[in-house]
Amino acid sequence: MLTVKLPGLELKNPIMPASGCFGFGREFAKLYDLSKLGAIMIKATTLEPRFGNPTPRVAETPSGMLNAIGLQNPGLKKVMEEELPWLSQFDVPIIANIAGSTVEEYVEVAKEISKAPNVKALELNISCPNVKQGGIMFGTVPEVAGHLTEAVKNVSSVPVYVKLSPNVTDIVAMAKAVEKAGADGITMINTLLGMRIDVKTGRSIIANGTGGLSGPAVKPIAVRMIYQVSQSVEIPVIGMGGIMNVDDCIEFLQAGAKAVAIGTANFVNPYVCVELIDALPNRLKELGFDHVNECVGRSWKDEKSSSNSCP
């Protein structure tokens, strides 16, 4: 009752850790068997190794957190030679999150990493708001995002999902632009740009100044955007943004996501992904669903047949 089919992906269940919150899986493999997961979205990989931003890189906010990791990662070569081969011991599809400062960098990473046998899809991180060059630019202008998507599609051996940034006026326009450019799917949302000031020092807690907001605080924004986008495009959406419990997962599916990713919650409860996978069937049954797919888009599918506004 949990299997989900998406371009390039045959998921045992619709639950996967979100990029950047799970590294390359080594740490969580000490806690549980990664083969239980629907998929794994690995940390953003760039062409060269990156150290990232100065610390502090995280700060807590009400029901949320800010991060400005700055895409720290060991670089394409090491990911191809060490991380992905290590991950291949698990029976789980890998979605490789890739980032870059130029179209050429994205293209180069996409071309190589999509050849790894366990990489079943790419996730184009066009929206990381932390990295000063690139990131924010690609993700906020429809044409730019479309152009990048097309370039990556041309070289990728696997389906390409584009990860949308919520820091835009018109999320539907972004989604349509990447769909038109050939994206096989959409993942959303990345973090919202935020800031927290330490009143004692008068300065940002995060050394970088601003950071990306994630966690339950952003959930209503994620749900709204998924609700809007999933109705406007034909390609599937993988939803994320503040999911903490099984009802949150179902809320995202009902909003229109076909599968969900869990980010920040992994820090709060390192076992959250497997606990959600275990809890999902019962909760679905309780709510009267025989298969997880039945939830998908229910919020707007229902709307079309009956209106909930006052006569």
Partner: protein, 258 residues
């Protein structure tokens, strides 16, 4: 490491805003070294979302108990301080490498500042158990903030400094160190970064182990929140993670800031 509900045996103030919490549970069996830490979820509400890293100040594998000593300053530790005996807390750990006790055979100098003092207590106990002579230098802001002076005294010679001179020597741990000119085989230290820096500068050629702090996300090495650049490698991407490669580092292993 495991995530476990541990029972509060006691939770009470031992100095101004400083609390001592004794916890009981199987998690204790997994602790391997002094200087390791745990990550605590203050309660089941979401507003204080992240876990709080707190050092293990003392543990007893036979009794399945461990002690945390923490300052109730921010919202989370304040909520923690209101918990009562028999309540359960959600603890994840033990995390980190901890202090290498085995690196000292004869004499160790333990230098702690403020809320960096607690992990030195278990360390000192284990050193003493190994027959090592220990000397403690502890720094606090003011008399009201001093804690565990007696406990440390029972283990070895103990010097206390307060910034305002209301207890012990007036000044910082460095003033005591400069004055006393201790001899030692190994120096173990935990405390605020300026203190660690001063120690690093004072003993560039000694065997020194420093315990670092940083704001954390995962606590297990997955999120890259808590990195330090490796010293030899300041211009490229060499780094260590405080949560897993640390919190204890050998002097010179990582840069103390950023």
């Amino acid at each position: 490491m495991i995530k476990a509900w541990m029972e509060i045996i006691s939770n009470r103030p031992i100095a101004k805003n400083i609390y001592k919490m004794e916890l009981k549970g199987e998690l204790v069996q997994r602790i391997t070294r002094p200087g390791q830490f745990v990550q605590i979820k203050v309660d089941d509400s979401f507003d204080l979302l992240l876990r709080r890293p707190i050092s293990i100040a003392e543990y007893n594998a036979e009794k399945n108990t461990m002690t945390l000593i923490y300052r109730a300053e921010g919202a989370g530790t304040k909520r923690l301080s209101r918990k009562k005996a028999s309540e359960l807390v959600d603890v994840f750990g033990p995390l980190g490498n901890g202090f290498p006790v085995e690196e000292t055979k004869e004499k160790a100098l333990l230098v702690g500042g403020g809320i960096g003092v607690p992990p030195l207590y278990e360390l000192s106990k284990q050193l003493v158990q190994n027959g090592v002579e220990v000397v403690h230098v502890l720094g606090f802001s003011t008399k009201a903030a001093v804690f565990y002076e007696q406990e440390f005294k029972e283990l070895g010679e103990t010097f206390v400094a307060t910034v305002d001179g209301t207890f012990g020597a007036k000044g910082t741990v460095m003033d005591i160190i400069n004055e006393q000119r201790f001899t030692f085989e190994t120096l173990y230290t935990c405390g605020p970064t300026p203190m660690l820096k001063a120690i690093e500068e004072a003993f560039p050629h000694k065997k020194v182990f420093l315990s670092l702090e940083e704001r954390m996300g995962c606590g297990i090495g997955a999120c890259f929140a808590c990195v330090r650049r490796t010293k030899t490698d300041a211009n490229d991407s060499g780094y260590k993670k405080i949560c897993t490669d640390g919190p204890v580092f050998r002097i010179g292993e990582v840069m103390l800031e950023c």
